[in-house]
Structure formats: C-alpha cells, structure tokens
C-alpha cells in the first residue's frame, strides 16, 4: 500500500492531510499498489474519524505515552513500523514544518531515497521520480529514487484535497513500542498565534507588500485586501529586516515557498531570492510603479503605478464584487 502520514492539530485534520490522501491515490495507481493507508500518530479520536472519511482504504492509528507531544525520534519509529505493516514502497509526508522535520529521520532509518518538496510524482524506468526546483528555482532537476522504499515530501497546494471515499476506511490500531524515557528531544510547548487568516503556505490567495509600501502603517491596505479575498499576508525580507513585518510572513529563499491560485504583490521589486518562493503560484498579479521592475517578468498581470493610490481603489472594487 501507499502510506501517507497525516497532520492534525487539536482534533482536526490539517488541509495538507487531504492533499496527501489524494497524492497517495495517484501514487497507488502509478505503482500498481492495492490500496492507500493513512497514518495518524498521537491524535485525538476526532481526527481519526475525519481521516477515515478521506478517500483511503486503511487508517492506522498510533497511540501511547511516547506519542503525546511531537518527538521526531518516537514518531519516526512509528512511521517505520507503519511502512512495515502495510509493506509500503512509498511514504508521503507534507512539505510542512512537521514533514520537513520528520521525513529525513524516516529516510535515514530506512536508508531510503527521499524526494523533497515535490509537486508531483511519476515513475521513470519503474522508479519513483519527481521534478524538483533547485538553485532558487533557476534549475529543474529530474530525480529518481533507487531504494526499495521512497520517502516523499509533498508541497502544500500541489494536489486537490481528496474528497470522501465510497466507503469509510478501515481503522486499525498499530502498536508501536517506544520507551518515552529514551526520547531525547521533545516539543514542550506550542505557542499558538491566533490566526485570523489562512496559513501562508496553504492559502489559495496570498497578498504581499514590499518596501514599496513605504511605511509599516500602510500594510493595513494589504491586510484589508487579503481579508476581502480570504487570503494570507506575505512580505519580503526587506520589510522583515526593517522590522515592519514578522519573519513568519517572509516569502522566498530564506522564507516560505507559496503555491496559491492567486498571488498579488505590491511594491515588491522581484529579487531572485523572493521570486524563487513564488514561482509555483498559478497566477501572479503585480503592482509596482517601476515598469522595469523584474517582478513584471514573471507576472501574468501587472499594473504600473503608485501602490498607495491604487490599493484603496482596488479594495473598493473587490468589495463591490461581494
């Protein structure tokens, strides 16, 4: 079976989980496997119920003292046990802070090839392969795994979330023995930021402002537009360094990679380090007063003009649509 490692928090599945289920179905057909198994580690029952409704055949549940708070050492052992349980040739995780932390540990334990941060999976000469964007998206590499088991981290928003299956997935508890005392690194606490907006890497609309916004105060215009479109707010390293915006909003090589359906950016020049984080966006709309700004070279639509004059009108126009 193809195995997908789901993510949940406080009893509800994260969006990436349904995307992973969809990716697993695709991989199942490609690799002629007999089903899709989902793995939930250390989650509340409500998350398991939601997982069983995704389009999958089996839902493996791992519980126990060692699986309270996230600890990569324990969780990697649970994934390895699940890979063995369903003889998975391919295990999928999200390319999220959780998946990026856990997946290499799993690949190390299994001596498995890992295809990192990919948007699709294919078979080349019978081997799981993927196109990867490297060198700040300046180069595309076709990479193949050579090992019996392959670990994949799947980019958020790359697969449409799986709908519910014809039948509920069978649920099975998987017993994984890990001595909690042997775990040497563990999450003690998660400081949640109350988020009124979708998460940047998951959002289907992202509105970002750069140094061309002139003043941190002016970002209320960016926020207003984002809220009207149900989107997330992003920015550049220039404004983060200036202390205008938090690092969690930074998009680019040393920030987040986004892949929304619509990326609107305002007063952003389009430095390579920024662009490498936005190229997976489906549609890019840019507002910049400089017609020569490099951002226009990658834009589907652009407006040349003063952001502070255009944004209030833009907000009004969008509002009048609703």
């Amino acid at each position: 079976m193809i195995l997908a490692v789901l993510e949940a928090s406080e009893g509800s599945l994260k969006k990436i989980s349904a995307e992973l289920a969809a990716a697993a179905r695709k991989a199942q057909a490609l690799m002629h496997q007999d089903g899709v198994a989902l793995l939930l580690i250390g989650q509340e029952a409500a998350a398991a119920e939601a997982a069983a409704k995704l389009d999958a055949d089996l839902c493996l549940i791992v519980k126990g003292a060692a699986f309270g708070a996230y600890a990569a050492e324990a969780w990697a052992q649970a994934v390895v046990a699940a890979v063995g349980e369903v003889s998975a040739p391919l295990v999928l995780l999200g390319s999220t802070s959780f998946g990026r932390d856990l997946a290499p540990r799993v690949s190390g334990l299994l001596a498995a090839g890992m295809l990192a941060d990919v948007g699709d999976i294919s078979l080349v000469d019978g081997q799981p392969s993927a196109e990867r964007s490297i060198y700040s998206s300046k180069v595309k590499a076709s990479v193949a795994s050579l090992s019996p088991v392959t670990v994949v981290t799947v980019r958020p928003n790359a697969f449409s979330p799986a709908g519910s299956g014809v039948a509920e997935a069978a649920m099975r508890d998987l017993d994984v023995q890990v001595d909690a005392a042997s775990v040497r690194c563990r999450v003690r606490e998660v400081r949640r930021q109350v988020a009124s907006r979708p998460e940047l890497t998951e959002a289907s609309v992202v509105v970002a402002g750069g140094r061309g916004m002139k003043d941190p105060e002016n970002f209320h215009l960016i926020e207003q537009l984002a809220d009207l479109l149900g989107g997330a707010v992003g920015t550049t390293r220039a404004t983060v360094d200036a202390g205008w915006r938090p690092h969690s909003e930074q998009i680019g090589q040393t920030g987040k990679t986004i892949a929304p359906a619509l990326y609107i950016n305002v007063g952003i020049s389009g430095a390579v380090q920024h662009i490498s984080g936005v190229l997976a966006s489906r549609t890019i709309v840019s507002i910049n007063r400089d017609v020569e700004a490099p951002i226009f070279k990658i834009s589907d639509y652009g407006v040349v003009g003063d952001a502070l004059e255009i944004l209030p009108h833009l907000i009004e126009e969008v509002r009048s649509l609703n």
Binding site: V139, S147, C185, R186, I310
Partner: protein, 252 residues
C-alpha cells in the same frame, strides 16, 4: 566541548547559473561560489556558544579541494579548526554517512548545519547525520540556548512557535532569524590563510551506495510576461484588474 559546523560551498543563486555539458550538473567553472547562507548562520551560532560556554569549533565540509575556500571563510570568522572530507558521495544519504563519520572522529557534542543548501535544497543532510549517529535533532531553529548537557530551541511552525527541550549530543539546523552572521575580521583572515586543514578521506565502505540519482537538469523556460497595464489612472487600473481577475481569470 566540541562543536562541529557543517559548511557547504554552493553556487550563488543570485548569479547566473549555466548547465554543464551532459546536463547532469551545473557548470561549476562559471558559477560564483559562496558559503551556503544558512551555514553562515550555523557558524555564527557555534561561535556564540563558544563565547558563552567555551568550546572548540570545527568547520567541516565535504567536497573537492576548492571547497576549502569555504573552510577558510569559516576560519576567518573565528572557527578554531577545519576539516575537509573527501568521499565518493553523491546524494544526501551518502554525504551524511561521510559527515557522520567525520563527526565521530572529532567526538563532537553539538553539530550545527543549515536548514538546507541553496543549491540542491534537499533539507536532509543535518537530520540524516543525527539519525545515523543516533542523536536527536532539532530543525529550522530560530532560537537556541545550551546549558550544561541540555538545551532549549524554538522553531516556527504553521500558526505558531514550538519550544523543544533536548539533551546533548544533538544536531541542530538553522533558520533565518536565528542570528546575523558576523563578518570575518582582518586578523582572522590572516590567520585563516596559514591554518592547516585536516584531511579526512573516506571510501565506499563508509558511504555505501547512493539512494537517489539525478537523471537530468534543465533550465526552465522563463515564465512568460503577461499583460501589463501601463497608462491607466489608479481608479481605472483598479477597475480593469478586478474585471480581469473576476471575469476572465475567474479567480475572485
């Protein structure tokens, strides 16, 4: 205490990248080579640990002789010792096996690596080294505090910040926000020039077989330029772009 920083020399992605003949690799001759930016943060963090707690800081790289430039940069920043590993390693796992062996030989207590290398962007090597050594790991760290044989780290996750407790030995990987790397000092640069670099040569018996193969590289065609509205006043421009997004692109 021994702190090892894993330093990779990478092509500067802000400069032009060309492919080598055969399209299996980039043209390294024409690339401008720098220390991976996340590894500079790793060097800085190691130096801060040294300044606070006392430690010998090692910079370790795996690569060709040219990669010693990256070690010289690390030495000039203030690192005490440097080692270059040469091994027949091609993918993340074989590189990690070689680096893990170097870490064993140095008897390190803390290994600091970058969250990912700016060239191949695998984001794996640090965690793989931890796994192969059977050490814990903490990735994408924005704050690090060591006290005695324990430590606390913070990392940004979707929708919040995680605080993690760990014990040494440990592998940590850096994230933007952790620190601002210092510049090399002039005396540092002079000293770095003369410093002997330890050579660690490893064979296939240590690194094993690769589990990934790069089939080919390609320079993707630039994303075509789209429709740019230039001569409209702000109200007209706003109206037109919303009309396009609503009626034509059906995105809003």
């Amino acid at each position: 205490m021994q702190v090892v920083v894993l330093v990779k020399q990478v092509a500067d992605t802000a400069a032009r990248i060309k492919l080598a003949d055969g399209k299996q690799d980039i043209d390294r001759q024409s690339a401008s080579l720098i220390v991976n930016p996340y590894d500079e943060m790793a060097i800085e963090e190691a130096l801060r640990i040294k300044e606070k707690h006392g430690a010998t800081v090692w910079a370790v790289t795996l690569g060709e002789a040219k990669a010693e430039e990256a070690l010289r940069t690390a030495l000039a920043m203030g690192v005490d010792e440097a080692a270059r590993v040469s091994a027949p390693a091609s993918d993340a796992l074989t590189v990690a096996r070689a680096l893990a062996q170097a870490v064993r030989e140095i008897s390190a207590d803390i290994v600091i690596a970058g969250r990912s290398a700016a060239d191949d962007e695998q984001g794996q090597v640090g965690t793989l080294v931890a796994t192969l050594l059977d050490w814990p790991h903490v990735t994408e760290v924005t704050k690090l505090e060591i006290s005695g044989s324990e430590g606390v780290a913070e990392r940004e996750v979707e929708g919040g910040v995680e605080i993690l407790d760990f014990s040494l030995p440990v592998v940590v990987t850096t994230q933007e926000g952790l620190n601002t790397p210092r510049y090399a000092s002039l005396p540092g640069i002079m000293k770095a020039k003369r410093k002997e670099i330890r050579q660690i040569a490893l064979g296939e018996d240590v690194v094993g077989q690769p589990v990934l193969a790069v089939r080919s590289l390609e320079l993707p065609p630039p994303r075509g330029q789209g429709r740019i509205l230039t001569d409209l006043d702000p109200a007209q421009a706003a109206k037109e772009i919303v009309r396009i997004l609503h009626e034509e692109a059906k995105l809003i």
